[in-house]
Amino acid sequence: MNTCINKIREIASKLLENGEVEKVIGFANGTIPMATSPVVINSKQDVDKLVFNSTCGLNLANYVRNQKGKVAVIAKGCDSRNIVTHIVENQVKRDQIHIIGVPCTGMINKKKIEALFGDDIIEFTEDGDTLNVKSSTREETLNKKEYLRDNCTLCMHRNPVVYDDLAGDLVQEQTLENPYPDVDRIEAMDADAKWQHFQELTQNCIRCYACRNACPLCYCPTCFVDESGPQWVGKGQNKTDVDTFHFLRAFHCAGRCTDCGACVEACPMDINVRDFTRKLNKDSFEMFGWEAGLDITKRPPLDVYSPGDPNAFIK
């Protein structure tokens, strides 16, 4: 995946030079090792700022809305599905974006790697499936496959579903016998154990809303948690308010979530909020045969009525 950066820079440089796009949205190195952050560049001189590696876990589809003129965006498989969702939901027009697709082999779980070291990581490099991580006292060579984020190990759409350019060769998609083992585990619990699981999951939530802000699906001008007239949900740390936030944030993503993992990536408290959305993804698939963002011509299942919709829940 690291070789694709040359291709990305080459494409970006050409697009900016020819004036085909005003800006390129990509990733740049972060301020600490083993981190990248989104960057917008608008001149050819800056293309060297662009990087792409296994730490680019945020979702750049989040930044393509409300842009003036045409923009280019670098998109992994999941990002491209969120771009499709944006197009379907009229947040951006297909001809306003130039998609530089990157076939993806997964992003790393930074917390899991950090946990191997007692001190700060000072250097991170990768070569294919080999990660080299250095702290001030130690150096480790790791196999990337063992340190993927949960959502990446369960991903079945690594290749971008739409693109104008490709920055690398398409990769082999994973085939999984059971794509939802995590959901099954929770489903097997009884009601009280489920409740306990989610209580513990969100007990450290500080309501910073980073999960919401990182998610490309959350683009309402005023989010229900910020609304004050009427105030739908209390704004403090009351546990019921925290539960309400998580329940509704997830439900607003029903049939739209691509399991990109940006929400989990952004959470400072290391909360796997995907435990909520994954259930909705599984239900969408089982009830509607639907996976979000695969088809530019189809609206999400909760957006449309069809006589065949499952209705066993209603009396």
Binding site: A191, W195, F198, F251, K315
Partner: protein
């Protein structure tokens, strides 16, 4: 899907019910309310998603 998510989060299956009853369907209304009351009574008072106002 909302009901399923609530159930997934640990709300008992019989706690939340969905129904569509026309204003002309008085008997259906009575039947549904009866059924709901019976089911909810069977699982007892709700302790989840409750906010205390002190």
């Amino acid at each position: 899907m909302m009901g399923n998510l609530l159930e997934h989060m640990g709300i008992e299956k019989d706690r939340v019910h969905f129904s569509w009853i026309s204003s002309a369907e008085a008997t259906k209304f009575v039947d549904v309310v009866k059924e709901i009351s019976d089911k909810v009574r069977a699982i007892g008072p709700n302790t989840k998603f409750v906010k205390d106002y002190i």
